[in-house]
């Protein structure tokens, strides 16, 4: 299959502007500047590209919410705060093909008429940041960024903004708060960022992978992009595979690809020949699939929804028969209680409470009633908070307990 996002990954010095240009990089800009911004938005709408950060919101539609007839500046924030457990795709794009992302940034910024873009990168990504810094310097030098880009009259400044260790800053409104120099507390919606975003101005927040798909769409057109994937989930997506497989790593696949094929063919099958027990298909927040469900699932928005889970960020965590699901869930509860920003009561208290119960169960001090209590907590958090971090723990709690309840019960003291 033709690759879109990862096609240069194998090339030597793929991160340099020379190599990127030699494979057709930045060629779409000429076409871009010949188009009206609104036509760019229409083309992206037509491509069916959806946000690759996790929520899957249609990208072109998101851009179209930016009001154009107000005098305020507009901003693009590129979400490079990749922190969803199981996900490591954006990191590889930034390390191995940063210019693709930069070209995408130019396309998006032009379409929404932004003259400033910030790349919010998680603080731990020191090496990817170095690669981006170097790539930006090259792009400025080549005239792809800065004033009057390629004689188009269009100006764009791009800055890298380094986070400092907070999962929640991957949530788009927390990201903006953090960028503004505050605690990463998600904002209330409405107002939505497209209208009142960064510094109170209209803002689009797009994931690294999302913007990196734009050069292809600009260069080859929406129809070419739609040849990949399914009708409702067009295009390709990067899947980060981790856990008990022989060849973990990033795989760019057309949406709709069978999960079974990814595990058993692309990833070389289960490690040590063990049997598959469970798969988290879209980053740690989404409901877990049993082996049977996983073997039938296809990797697209609708296919995973049909199996009761979600495509999410494309972080595929594969667990074999030796995996202790109680420990796995406890690990996630630790993560989410540690990463809860603490702002709203149900999440602040509910994630911590869940973690305490699970820790006790793992320690052999589980009591009858604990599992129902966990479900009650999940239920009382779900959909009742400012952002979806609480849901991101509630969904694993619900799905693990539903699908692996016996394992949890075996931990409890007998009445």
């Amino acid at each position: 299959m033709e690759k879109i996002l990862t096609k240069n990954f194998e090339l030597k010095n793929s991160h340099t502007v020379e190599v990127y240009e030699s494979t057709g990089g930045y060629r779409s800009l000429k076409k871009l500047f010949a188009m009206q911004p609104n036509d760019v938005i229409e083309e992206v709408k037509k491509s069916g590209l959806r946000g690759r950060g996790g929520a899957g919101f249609p990208t072109g539609m998101k851009w179209s919410f930016v009001p154009q007839n107000i005098p305020k500046p507009k901003y693009l924030c590129v979400n490079a705060d990749e922190s969803e457990p199981g996900t490591f795709k954006d990191r590889y794009i930034m390390e191995l093909d940063p210019h693709r992302m930069i070209e995408g940034i130019i396309i998006c910024s032009y379409a929404i008429r932004a003259n400033t873009a910030y790349i919010y990168i998680r603080g731990e990504f020191v090496f990817p940041k170095q690669r981006i810094d170097a790539a930006l310097a090259e792009a400025y030098k080549k005239g792809y960024l800065g004033k009057n880009i390629l004689g188009s009259g269009y100006d764009l400044e791009v800055y890298v903004h380094r986070g400092a260790g907070a999962y929640i800053c991957g949530e788009e409104t927390a990201l903006m708060e953090s960028l503004e120099g505050k605690r990463g507390w998600p904002r209330l919606k409405p107002p939505f960022p497209a209208v009142v975003g960064l510094f109170g101005c209209p803002t689009v927040i797009n994931n690294v992978e999302t913007v990196s798909a734009l050069p292809y769409i600009m260069e080859n057109g929406a129809d070419a992009y739609k040849k990949f994937g399914t009708e409702k989930s067009p295009g390709t997506k990067m899947f980060s595979v981790s856990g008990h497989v022989n060849k973990p790593g990033n795989y760019e696949l057309p949406l709709g690809y069978p999960l079974k094929k990814l595990i058993y063919e692309d990833c070389g099958g289960m490690k040590d020949g063990k049997a598959l027990k469970a798969v988290i298909p879209g980053g740690s927040s989404v409901p877990v699939l049993t082996a049977a469900e996983a073997e039938e699932a296809t990797l697209d928005y609708e296919g995973l929804q049909a199996k009761g889970s979600m495509l999410g960020s494309g972080g595929v965590i594969v667990m074999d028969e030796t995996t202790d699901m109680v420990k796995a869930l406890t690990n996630l509860a630790h993560f989410y209680s540690h990463e809860s920003c603490g702002q709203c009561s149900p999440c602040r208290e509910g994630t911590g409470w869940s973690h305490k119960i699970l820790k006790r169960i793992v320690a052999g001090e589980g009591r009858q009633g604990d599992l129902d209590q966990l479900l009650a907590i999940a239920d009382n958090m779900m959909g009742k908070t400012i952002c979806v971090l609480a849901d991101a723990l509630a969904m694993p709690i619900q799905s693990y307990l539903k699908k692996f309840r016996k394992e949890f019960e075996s931990y409890l003291c007998q009445p």
Partner: protein
């Protein structure tokens, strides 16, 4: 102007009104902790979740704008379950130390627990421990374990006092309200954070452990700390004032008051003159009222009007000053002066605190009293309380033959007086003050006058009667009506600005 339905009631509200405020306007109360009408919306407590038809998830009413045709449910079983569940989360790490908590009796957690829960908590884990007895500032104590992290106090310091001392540190269930290490919550308005704290996390150092709140009675009044005239409620029990709390008046103090003003009440409780006094052999000695009144009447009769100076007070009510003026006029006295509290280097700002520390300067001036200048030939001075430092120096220098003082508290002025009539303080009577905006505002009687004290206007009436002036001992309202040409009820809720004809 959308019309929506809340719990079956139709209500029409202004554009942009939240569902929460729309409910409030139709007298439907929605439980809440973090929402405060004067602060930005935080939406973090989640207690005001309601069910809105056609919305996929419960919505917080504080951040949901009312729209045409919206159908809102706030009391259904589903919503009550939401509220109960949120409350359960908020309570799991709370110490539930109500028996030793000053907030007990006026605590939202307690009230909502009674309304929504009334069952045992299912939480069986170790609670998160946080700092207790934190000396947050000169007037405020913090118990972080009681804090529910609603951020009202943080927002107050960011948005209202603009001093930014408070913050939340850490994350998740370790989030903690604090100040910067070594810094204090120290601003002119810090006790408002205690007022708006919905739980017992922030307590007032002057008030803590003084009185259980359910014993307190509350009487609407006006702060006498400066010429702003912040509207307050006097909280008192058994003849003692325990605290002032701000009372809403959008036109004056919104819902706030300054620390200095709200802590200006001890003069009501302490240092009071509760007997009359007469000079005997050069010494002031306590006396029952009759001999004091006789002495006053005899002195006033002895001296001609030209030897009398009447000194009003910018610290006393319009009614008491008006009564003094009336007595002066009855006696044919034309020399009307007033004295005021004088403070060296008074603090003021562009919010609530005025440099003029007198609640009624505009009032006493409007009645025709002139600022105190004394006079070279002072014989007898009849003065209401509140002789300022400078005025007192001058008075001492000029050394009048007789100083007749109507006073509520011990002061230097009392030391040089010849005759003292003990008067009630503003909290012990009805009356009005005219603030710096020329806004006339009424205060109610919170306490009975102590000992033999009576409101000044009553003593002045007694004197008038004994001097056979055709003047009855009138009520405060009668005096007010005569002097201002209106009734108390004409003042309305926000008071009335003199010279303004409009009626809201």
């Amino acid at each position: 102007m959308p019309t929506l339905t809340i719990d079956g009631k139709q209500v029409t509200v202004k554009d942009g009104t939240s569902v929460f405020e729309a409910a409030r306007q139709s007298e439907i109360s929605i439980p809440h902790f973090c929402y405060h009408p004067k602060l930005t919306i935080a939406g973090n407590c989640r207690m005001c979740l309601v069910d809105i038809e056609k919305m996929p998830k419960p919505a917080i009413s504080c951040n949901t704008v009312a729209t045409e045709g919206m159908v809102v449910h706030t009391k259904t079983e589903k919503v009550q379950a939401l509220q109960k569940n949120v409350l359960e989360f908020i309570l799991i790490n709370h110490p539930i130390d109500c028996p030793v908590c000053d907030q007990a009796g006026e605590c939202r957690l307690q009230e909502y627990y009674m309304d929504y829960t009334l069952t045992e908590s299912k939480f069986r884990e170790e609670k998160v421990h946080k700092p207790k007895k934190v000396d947050l500032g000169p007037l405020v104590m913090l118990d972080d374990e009681r804090c529910i992290l609603c951020t009202r106090c943080v927002r107050f310091c960011d948005e209202i006092s603009k001093t930014g001392e408070l913050c939340i540190t850490n994350r998740g269930d370790h989030s903690t309200l604090t100040t910067f290490p070594g810094k204090k919550l120290d601003n002119k308005y810090s006790l408002n954070t205690v007022d708006i704290c919905p739980v017992g996390a922030l307590t007032s150092k002057p008030f803590r452990f003084q009185c259980r709140v359910w014993f307190l009675k509350s009487t609407p009044s006006i702060c006498t700390g400066c010429s702003t005239g912040c509207n307050i409620n006097i909280n008192h029990h058994d003849g003692t004032v325990y605290r002032y709390l701000p009372r809403e008046n959008e036109a004056v103090n919104q819902v706030w008051t300054c620390d200095e003003g709200r802590l200006s009440y001890p003069f009501i409780n302490f240092g009071r003159l509760i007997w009359g006094m007469l000079k005997k052999e050069g010494q002031l000695v306590p006396s029952s009222p009759e001999p004091v009144l006789s002495e006053v009447v005899s002195a006033l009769t002895r001296m001609g009007a030209e030897n009398l100076v009447f000194v009003g007070s910018a610290y006393e009510s319009n009614e008491n000053n008006a009564a003094l003026k009336k007595l002066a006029q009855g006696l044919g006295v034309t020399d009307l002066q007033y004295s005021a509290h004088q403070v060296d280097d008074p603090y003021s700002d562009d919010f609530l605190i005025k440099a003029d520390k007198n609640p009624n300067r505009a009032g006493v001036e409007k009645l025709g009293f002139k600022p105190f200048t004394g006079g070279t030939q002072l014989k007898v001075v009849v003065a209401l309380e509140g002789i300022g430092k400078q005025d007192l120096l001058r008075l001492k220098e000029e050394n009048p033959m007789m100083l007749i003082l109507l006073a509520s508290n011990q002061s230097e002025a009392v030391e040089i007086a010849d005759v003292v009539l003990p008067i009630a303080v503003f909290a012990e009577q009805v009356g009005t003050f005219t603030n710096f905006q020329k806004r006339v505002q009424k205060f109610e009687k919170a306490l009975n006058p102590k000992g033999q004290t009576r409101p000044a206007y009553e003593w002045l009436g007694e004197i008038a009667k004994r001097m056979n002036l055709s003047w009855e001992v009138a009520s405060a309202e009668a005096i007010f009506q005569e002097a201002f040409g209106m009734k108390y009820e004409d003042l309305g809720k926000e008071g009335k600005v003199l010279g303004e004809t409009r009626d809201k």
